[in-house]
Symmetry: C2
Subunit: 211 residues, 2 copies
Protein backbone atom coordinates (compact mmCIF):
# COMPACT_ATOMS: atom_id res chain seq x y z
CA UNK A 1 0.00 0.00 0.00
CA UNK A 2 1.24 3.50 -0.80
CA UNK A 3 2.27 5.60 2.15
CA UNK A 4 0.90 9.09 2.70
CA UNK A 5 2.79 10.70 -0.16
CA UNK A 6 5.80 8.97 -1.59
CA UNK A 7 8.63 11.10 -2.82
CA UNK A 8 8.12 9.85 -6.33
CA UNK A 9 4.74 10.37 -7.84
CA UNK A 10 4.88 7.36 -10.09
CA UNK A 11 2.76 8.66 -12.94
CA UNK A 12 3.41 12.35 -12.91
CA UNK A 13 3.54 12.91 -16.62
CA UNK A 14 0.04 11.54 -17.13
CA UNK A 15 -1.25 13.37 -14.06
CA UNK A 16 0.14 16.65 -15.33
CA UNK A 17 -1.40 16.08 -18.71
CA UNK A 18 -4.81 15.42 -17.19
CA UNK A 19 -4.52 18.44 -14.91
CA UNK A 20 -3.57 20.55 -17.93
CA UNK A 21 -6.56 19.29 -19.91
CA UNK A 22 -8.89 20.15 -17.04
CA UNK A 23 -7.29 23.53 -16.51
CA UNK A 24 -7.62 24.43 -20.16
CA UNK A 25 -11.23 23.31 -20.24
CA UNK A 26 -11.93 25.55 -17.27
CA UNK A 27 -9.99 28.68 -18.07
CA UNK A 28 -8.70 28.43 -21.63
CA UNK A 29 -5.20 28.07 -23.01
CA UNK A 30 -4.01 31.22 -21.25
CA UNK A 31 -5.21 29.79 -17.96
CA UNK A 32 -2.81 26.88 -18.21
CA UNK A 33 0.03 27.37 -15.80
CA UNK A 34 2.85 24.99 -15.06
CA UNK A 35 2.63 25.90 -11.41
CA UNK A 36 -1.11 25.32 -11.19
CA UNK A 37 -0.79 21.99 -12.98
CA UNK A 38 1.91 21.03 -10.52
CA UNK A 39 -0.33 22.12 -7.65
CA UNK A 40 -3.17 19.92 -8.90
CA UNK A 41 -0.81 16.98 -9.13
CA UNK A 42 0.34 17.72 -5.55
CA UNK A 43 3.89 18.23 -6.58
CA UNK A 44 6.39 21.04 -6.32
CA UNK A 45 6.42 23.85 -8.83
CA UNK A 46 9.49 22.56 -10.61
CA UNK A 47 8.65 18.89 -10.92
CA UNK A 48 6.96 19.36 -14.34
CA UNK A 49 10.31 20.24 -15.88
CA UNK A 50 11.37 16.62 -15.54
CA UNK A 51 8.67 15.67 -18.05
CA UNK A 52 8.11 18.75 -20.22
CA UNK A 53 10.72 21.08 -21.65
CA UNK A 54 8.63 24.15 -20.92
CA UNK A 55 5.07 25.41 -20.85
CA UNK A 56 4.68 25.11 -24.61
CA UNK A 57 5.77 21.49 -24.46
CA UNK A 58 2.93 20.72 -22.07
CA UNK A 59 0.54 22.60 -24.31
CA UNK A 60 1.74 20.56 -27.26
CA UNK A 61 1.07 17.39 -25.29
CA UNK A 62 -2.47 18.59 -24.71
CA UNK A 63 -2.81 19.26 -28.43
CA UNK A 64 -1.47 15.80 -29.25
CA UNK A 65 -3.97 14.27 -26.88
CA UNK A 66 -6.72 16.27 -28.55
CA UNK A 67 -5.76 15.11 -32.03
CA UNK A 68 -5.84 11.50 -30.85
CA UNK A 69 -9.27 11.91 -29.29
CA UNK A 70 -10.57 13.61 -32.41
CA UNK A 71 -9.18 10.88 -34.63
CA UNK A 72 -10.89 8.21 -32.57
CA UNK A 73 -14.19 10.09 -32.59
CA UNK A 74 -14.11 10.62 -36.33
CA UNK A 75 -13.13 7.05 -37.12
CA UNK A 76 -15.77 5.45 -34.91
CA UNK A 77 -18.86 6.60 -36.77
CA UNK A 78 -21.41 3.97 -37.86
CA UNK A 79 -19.71 1.28 -39.90
CA UNK A 80 -22.94 0.23 -41.53
CA UNK A 81 -23.52 3.55 -43.25
CA UNK A 82 -22.44 4.29 -46.79
CA UNK A 83 -18.99 5.85 -47.31
CA UNK A 84 -20.50 9.21 -48.14
CA UNK A 85 -22.68 9.17 -45.05
CA UNK A 86 -19.74 8.16 -42.93
CA UNK A 87 -17.77 11.06 -44.33
CA UNK A 88 -20.57 13.49 -43.55
CA UNK A 89 -21.01 12.03 -40.13
CA UNK A 90 -17.32 12.49 -39.41
CA UNK A 91 -17.66 16.12 -40.44
CA UNK A 92 -20.46 16.58 -37.92
CA UNK A 93 -18.36 14.78 -35.34
CA UNK A 94 -15.51 17.19 -36.05
CA UNK A 95 -17.71 20.21 -35.45
CA UNK A 96 -19.31 18.69 -32.40
CA UNK A 97 -15.91 17.96 -30.94
CA UNK A 98 -14.97 21.59 -31.41
CA UNK A 99 -18.20 22.79 -29.80
CA UNK A 100 -17.92 20.46 -26.87
CA UNK A 101 -14.28 21.21 -26.04
CA UNK A 102 -13.64 24.61 -27.55
CA UNK A 103 -10.52 25.36 -25.54
CA UNK A 104 -8.94 22.02 -26.22
CA UNK A 105 -9.74 22.50 -29.89
CA UNK A 106 -8.15 25.93 -29.77
CA UNK A 107 -4.95 24.53 -28.34
CA UNK A 108 -4.79 22.08 -31.22
CA UNK A 109 -5.14 24.64 -33.99
CA UNK A 110 -4.28 28.08 -32.69
CA UNK A 111 -0.59 27.48 -32.29
CA UNK A 112 1.93 26.44 -34.92
CA UNK A 113 3.03 23.05 -33.63
CA UNK A 114 5.59 22.70 -36.36
CA UNK A 115 7.17 19.42 -37.33
CA UNK A 116 10.76 19.90 -36.11
CA UNK A 117 9.93 21.16 -32.62
CA UNK A 118 6.88 19.02 -31.85
CA UNK A 119 7.08 15.86 -33.93
CA UNK A 120 4.59 13.89 -31.84
CA UNK A 121 1.95 16.57 -32.23
CA UNK A 122 2.54 16.82 -35.95
CA UNK A 123 2.28 13.05 -36.22
CA UNK A 124 -1.01 13.01 -34.34
CA UNK A 125 -2.39 15.72 -36.62
CA UNK A 126 -1.20 13.72 -39.60
CA UNK A 127 -3.01 10.62 -38.36
CA UNK A 128 -6.13 12.72 -37.97
CA UNK A 129 -5.97 13.92 -41.55
CA UNK A 130 -5.18 10.37 -42.62
CA UNK A 131 -8.53 9.10 -41.40
CA UNK A 132 -10.29 11.88 -43.28
CA UNK A 133 -8.31 10.99 -46.37
CA UNK A 134 -9.32 7.36 -46.22
CA UNK A 135 -12.96 8.32 -45.74
CA UNK A 136 -12.75 10.34 -48.93
CA UNK A 137 -10.99 7.49 -50.68
CA UNK A 138 -13.79 5.12 -49.64
CA UNK A 139 -16.32 7.49 -51.17
CA UNK A 140 -14.38 7.52 -54.41
CA UNK A 141 -14.06 3.75 -54.43
CA UNK A 142 -17.81 3.48 -53.94
CA UNK A 143 -18.33 5.94 -56.81
CA UNK A 144 -20.06 8.40 -54.51
CA UNK A 145 -17.47 11.00 -55.41
CA UNK A 146 -15.45 11.79 -58.54
CA UNK A 147 -12.29 9.69 -58.45
CA UNK A 148 -9.72 12.42 -58.98
CA UNK A 149 -7.79 14.70 -56.67
CA UNK A 150 -8.35 12.81 -53.45
CA UNK A 151 -6.15 15.09 -51.38
CA UNK A 152 -7.69 18.27 -52.67
CA UNK A 153 -11.18 16.99 -51.92
CA UNK A 154 -10.13 16.04 -48.40
CA UNK A 155 -8.61 19.45 -47.78
CA UNK A 156 -11.74 21.07 -49.12
CA UNK A 157 -13.99 19.12 -46.75
CA UNK A 158 -11.64 19.81 -43.86
CA UNK A 159 -11.60 23.53 -44.60
CA UNK A 160 -15.37 23.75 -44.58
CA UNK A 161 -15.94 21.98 -41.28
CA UNK A 162 -12.96 23.68 -39.70
CA UNK A 163 -14.25 27.09 -40.69
CA UNK A 164 -17.66 26.29 -39.28
CA UNK A 165 -16.13 25.03 -36.05
CA UNK A 166 -13.88 28.03 -35.63
CA UNK A 167 -16.46 30.66 -36.46
CA UNK A 168 -18.98 28.99 -34.18
CA UNK A 169 -16.51 28.97 -31.30
CA UNK A 170 -15.62 32.58 -32.01
CA UNK A 171 -19.26 33.47 -31.57
CA UNK A 172 -19.59 34.78 -35.11
CA UNK A 173 -22.72 32.82 -35.93
CA UNK A 174 -26.15 34.02 -34.80
CA UNK A 175 -27.36 30.56 -33.85
CA UNK A 176 -27.61 29.94 -30.17
CA UNK A 177 -27.79 26.18 -29.82
CA UNK A 178 -25.14 23.71 -30.84
CA UNK A 179 -27.82 21.70 -32.64
CA UNK A 180 -28.49 24.63 -34.93
CA UNK A 181 -24.82 24.92 -35.81
CA UNK A 182 -24.71 21.20 -36.51
CA UNK A 183 -27.74 21.46 -38.76
CA UNK A 184 -26.09 24.27 -40.66
CA UNK A 185 -23.00 22.09 -40.99
CA UNK A 186 -25.01 19.13 -42.24
CA UNK A 187 -26.73 21.32 -44.77
CA UNK A 188 -23.48 22.89 -45.92
CA UNK A 189 -21.89 19.50 -46.44
CA UNK A 190 -24.87 18.21 -48.41
CA UNK A 191 -24.05 20.52 -51.32
CA UNK A 192 -26.37 21.61 -54.11
CA UNK A 193 -28.08 18.23 -54.25
CA UNK A 194 -29.33 18.40 -50.69
CA UNK A 195 -32.73 19.56 -49.44
CA UNK A 196 -33.17 23.22 -50.25
CA UNK A 197 -35.72 24.14 -47.60
CA UNK A 198 -36.26 23.62 -43.93
CA UNK A 199 -32.61 23.16 -43.14
CA UNK A 200 -33.12 24.66 -39.71
CA UNK A 201 -35.45 21.91 -38.61
CA UNK A 202 -33.87 18.95 -40.37
CA UNK A 203 -32.99 16.01 -38.12
CA UNK A 204 -29.43 14.98 -37.36
CA UNK A 205 -27.93 11.50 -37.37
CA UNK A 206 -28.30 9.94 -33.95
CA UNK A 207 -24.73 9.04 -33.26
CA UNK A 208 -23.66 12.62 -33.51
CA UNK A 209 -25.28 13.33 -30.19
CA UNK A 210 -23.21 10.77 -28.36
CA UNK A 211 -19.66 12.03 -28.70
Amino acid sequence: MPAARPYHHGNLKQALLEAAVELIAETGPRGLTLREAARRASVSHNAPYRHFRDRDDLLAAVATDGFDRLTRAMASGGRKASPLNRLRRSGLTYVQFALRWPQHFAVMFDMPWNQPDYPECAAAAERCFGTLLSLVRDCQAAKQMPPDDTERRAYHAWSLVHGIAKLANAGQFPWRSKAEVLRFCAFSMAGPGGPAQDWRSAPLPDSVSSI
Copy 2:
Protein backbone atom coordinates in the same frame (compact mmCIF):
# COMPACT_ATOMS: atom_id res chain seq x y z
CA MET B 1 6.77 72.19 -32.65
CA PRO B 2 6.83 69.68 -29.80
CA ALA B 3 9.59 70.07 -27.23
CA ALA B 4 11.97 67.23 -26.31
CA ARG B 5 9.46 65.14 -24.37
CA PRO B 6 6.47 66.79 -22.85
CA TYR B 7 4.86 65.26 -19.84
CA HIS B 8 1.76 64.51 -21.85
CA HIS B 9 2.17 62.38 -24.90
CA GLY B 10 -0.72 63.86 -26.83
CA ASN B 11 -1.66 60.84 -28.89
CA LEU B 12 -0.83 57.96 -26.64
CA LYS B 13 -3.84 55.79 -27.38
CA GLN B 14 -3.06 55.65 -31.09
CA ALA B 15 0.65 55.19 -30.41
CA LEU B 16 -0.07 52.28 -28.11
CA LEU B 17 -2.34 50.70 -30.67
CA GLU B 18 0.31 50.95 -33.36
CA ALA B 19 2.97 49.58 -31.04
CA ALA B 20 0.66 46.70 -30.16
CA VAL B 21 0.04 45.92 -33.82
CA GLU B 22 3.76 45.85 -34.52
CA LEU B 23 4.47 43.76 -31.44
CA ILE B 24 1.86 41.22 -32.37
CA ALA B 25 3.13 41.01 -35.92
CA GLU B 26 6.60 40.32 -34.56
CA THR B 27 5.97 37.94 -31.72
CA GLY B 28 2.33 36.85 -31.81
CA PRO B 29 -0.55 37.57 -29.46
CA ARG B 30 1.31 36.14 -26.49
CA GLY B 31 4.18 38.51 -27.18
CA LEU B 32 1.98 41.53 -26.61
CA THR B 33 2.81 43.10 -23.30
CA LEU B 34 1.40 46.28 -21.89
CA ARG B 35 4.82 47.17 -20.59
CA GLU B 36 6.56 46.61 -23.90
CA ALA B 37 3.92 48.63 -25.73
CA ALA B 38 4.44 51.40 -23.18
CA ARG B 39 8.21 51.16 -23.69
CA ARG B 40 7.80 51.56 -27.45
CA ALA B 41 5.64 54.60 -26.91
CA SER B 42 8.26 55.98 -24.50
CA VAL B 43 5.94 56.17 -21.54
CA SER B 44 5.89 54.59 -18.13
CA HIS B 45 4.60 51.09 -17.57
CA ASN B 46 1.32 52.29 -16.15
CA ALA B 47 0.35 54.96 -18.66
CA PRO B 48 -1.57 52.50 -20.85
CA TYR B 49 -4.14 52.03 -18.09
CA ARG B 50 -5.42 55.54 -18.76
CA HIS B 51 -6.56 54.37 -22.21
CA PHE B 52 -7.20 50.64 -21.91
CA ARG B 53 -8.90 48.78 -19.09
CA ASP B 54 -6.40 45.96 -19.19
CA ARG B 55 -4.33 43.88 -21.56
CA ASP B 56 -7.37 42.25 -23.14
CA ASP B 57 -8.84 45.66 -23.86
CA LEU B 58 -5.76 46.58 -25.89
CA LEU B 59 -5.93 43.23 -27.67
CA ALA B 60 -9.57 43.92 -28.50
CA ALA B 61 -8.57 47.27 -29.95
CA VAL B 62 -6.08 45.48 -32.18
CA ALA B 63 -8.81 43.08 -33.24
CA THR B 64 -11.16 45.94 -34.00
CA ASP B 65 -8.48 47.59 -36.12
CA GLY B 66 -7.99 44.30 -37.95
CA PHE B 67 -11.68 43.92 -38.72
CA ASP B 68 -11.75 47.43 -40.14
CA ARG B 69 -8.73 46.77 -42.34
CA LEU B 70 -10.20 43.51 -43.54
CA THR B 71 -13.52 45.15 -44.32
CA ARG B 72 -11.82 47.82 -46.40
CA ALA B 73 -9.73 45.24 -48.25
CA MET B 74 -12.72 43.07 -49.04
CA ALA B 75 -14.92 45.94 -50.14
CA SER B 76 -12.34 47.50 -52.45
CA GLY B 77 -12.11 44.72 -55.03
CA GLY B 78 -12.61 45.64 -58.72
CA ARG B 79 -15.91 47.40 -59.21
CA LYS B 80 -16.08 46.51 -62.86
CA ALA B 81 -16.24 42.78 -62.26
CA SER B 82 -19.48 40.83 -62.04
CA PRO B 83 -21.03 40.34 -58.60
CA LEU B 84 -19.99 36.70 -58.50
CA ASN B 85 -16.44 37.54 -59.42
CA ARG B 86 -16.34 40.28 -56.83
CA LEU B 87 -17.54 37.81 -54.23
CA ARG B 88 -14.86 35.31 -55.18
CA ARG B 89 -12.24 38.01 -55.23
CA SER B 90 -13.22 39.09 -51.75
CA GLY B 91 -12.82 35.49 -50.63
CA LEU B 92 -9.29 35.46 -51.97
CA THR B 93 -8.66 38.78 -50.33
CA TYR B 94 -9.85 37.33 -47.04
CA VAL B 95 -7.41 34.44 -47.25
CA GLN B 96 -4.59 36.66 -48.41
CA PHE B 97 -5.19 38.99 -45.50
CA ALA B 98 -4.91 36.05 -43.14
CA LEU B 99 -1.71 34.83 -44.79
CA ARG B 100 -0.11 38.24 -44.81
CA TRP B 101 -0.89 39.09 -41.18
CA PRO B 102 -1.42 35.76 -39.48
CA GLN B 103 -0.97 37.03 -35.95
CA HIS B 104 -3.29 39.96 -36.40
CA PHE B 105 -5.82 37.59 -37.91
CA ALA B 106 -5.42 35.28 -34.94
CA VAL B 107 -6.15 38.10 -32.51
CA MET B 108 -9.35 38.80 -34.39
CA PHE B 109 -10.72 35.28 -34.29
CA ASP B 110 -9.00 33.31 -31.56
CA MET B 111 -10.56 35.11 -28.66
CA PRO B 112 -14.25 35.49 -27.84
CA TRP B 113 -14.74 39.24 -28.16
CA ASN B 114 -18.30 39.05 -26.98
CA GLN B 115 -20.83 41.79 -27.49
CA PRO B 116 -21.36 43.05 -23.92
CA ASP B 117 -17.68 43.37 -23.00
CA TYR B 118 -16.23 44.58 -26.30
CA PRO B 119 -19.02 46.28 -28.25
CA GLU B 120 -16.70 48.14 -30.63
CA CYS B 121 -14.99 44.94 -31.67
CA ALA B 122 -18.29 43.15 -32.15
CA ALA B 123 -19.54 46.07 -34.23
CA ALA B 124 -16.45 46.00 -36.44
CA ALA B 125 -16.88 42.26 -36.97
CA GLU B 126 -20.51 42.87 -37.80
CA ARG B 127 -19.57 45.48 -40.41
CA CYS B 128 -17.15 42.97 -41.89
CA PHE B 129 -19.85 40.34 -42.24
CA GLY B 130 -22.18 43.00 -43.59
CA THR B 131 -19.99 43.62 -46.61
CA LEU B 132 -19.90 39.91 -47.32
CA LEU B 133 -23.65 39.77 -46.99
CA SER B 134 -24.16 42.54 -49.51
CA LEU B 135 -21.77 40.87 -51.94
CA VAL B 136 -23.92 37.75 -51.75
CA ARG B 137 -27.05 39.82 -52.15
CA ASP B 138 -25.60 41.41 -55.28
CA CYS B 139 -24.98 37.96 -56.72
CA GLN B 140 -28.56 37.01 -56.04
CA ALA B 141 -29.88 40.21 -57.56
CA ALA B 142 -27.78 39.52 -60.68
CA LYS B 143 -29.19 35.99 -60.78
CA GLN B 144 -25.73 34.48 -60.39
CA MET B 145 -26.89 32.70 -57.26
CA PRO B 146 -30.19 31.19 -56.11
CA PRO B 147 -32.24 33.93 -54.47
CA ASP B 148 -33.02 32.19 -51.20
CA ASP B 149 -31.33 31.99 -47.84
CA THR B 150 -28.97 34.90 -48.25
CA GLU B 151 -27.57 34.67 -44.74
CA ARG B 152 -26.98 30.96 -44.89
CA ARG B 153 -25.10 31.31 -48.18
CA ALA B 154 -22.96 34.08 -46.73
CA TYR B 155 -22.11 32.02 -43.67
CA HIS B 156 -21.28 29.09 -45.90
CA ALA B 157 -18.85 31.14 -47.99
CA TRP B 158 -17.35 32.65 -44.87
CA SER B 159 -16.85 29.23 -43.30
CA LEU B 160 -15.02 27.92 -46.33
CA VAL B 161 -12.54 30.76 -46.67
CA HIS B 162 -12.11 31.02 -42.91
CA GLY B 163 -11.29 27.33 -42.68
CA ILE B 164 -8.78 27.62 -45.47
CA ALA B 165 -7.18 30.66 -43.85
CA LYS B 166 -6.97 29.05 -40.43
CA LEU B 167 -5.67 25.70 -41.59
CA ALA B 168 -3.10 27.40 -43.80
CA ASN B 169 -1.86 29.52 -40.91
CA ALA B 170 -1.78 26.47 -38.67
CA GLY B 171 0.56 24.82 -41.15
CA GLN B 172 -1.84 21.98 -41.84
CA PHE B 173 -1.65 22.26 -45.62
CA PRO B 174 1.25 20.76 -47.55
CA TRP B 175 1.56 23.71 -49.93
CA ARG B 176 4.56 25.88 -49.35
CA SER B 177 3.79 29.11 -51.17
CA LYS B 178 0.94 31.47 -50.44
CA ALA B 179 0.09 31.46 -54.14
CA GLU B 180 -0.61 27.75 -53.98
CA VAL B 181 -2.97 28.22 -51.06
CA LEU B 182 -4.73 30.99 -52.92
CA ARG B 183 -5.12 28.80 -55.99
CA PHE B 184 -6.60 26.08 -53.85
CA CYS B 185 -8.97 28.67 -52.41
CA ALA B 186 -9.98 29.92 -55.84
CA PHE B 187 -10.62 26.40 -56.98
CA SER B 188 -12.61 25.53 -53.87
CA MET B 189 -14.81 28.56 -54.31
CA ALA B 190 -15.45 27.81 -57.97
CA GLY B 191 -17.53 24.77 -57.04
CA PRO B 192 -18.44 21.82 -59.25
CA GLY B 193 -18.80 24.02 -62.31
CA GLY B 194 -15.20 25.19 -62.26
CA PRO B 195 -12.23 23.79 -64.17
CA ALA B 196 -11.56 20.24 -63.03
CA GLN B 197 -7.91 19.98 -63.97
CA ASP B 198 -4.75 22.00 -63.56
CA TRP B 199 -5.95 23.85 -60.53
CA ARG B 200 -2.40 24.09 -59.22
CA SER B 201 -1.22 26.19 -62.13
CA ALA B 202 -4.32 28.28 -62.73
CA PRO B 203 -3.75 32.04 -62.73
CA LEU B 204 -5.11 34.31 -60.03
CA PRO B 205 -6.87 37.65 -60.44
CA ASP B 206 -4.32 40.45 -60.49
CA SER B 207 -5.70 42.60 -57.75
CA VAL B 208 -5.33 39.85 -55.22
CA SER B 209 -1.58 40.35 -55.25
CA SER B 210 -1.82 43.96 -54.18
CA ILE B 211 -3.39 43.81 -50.76
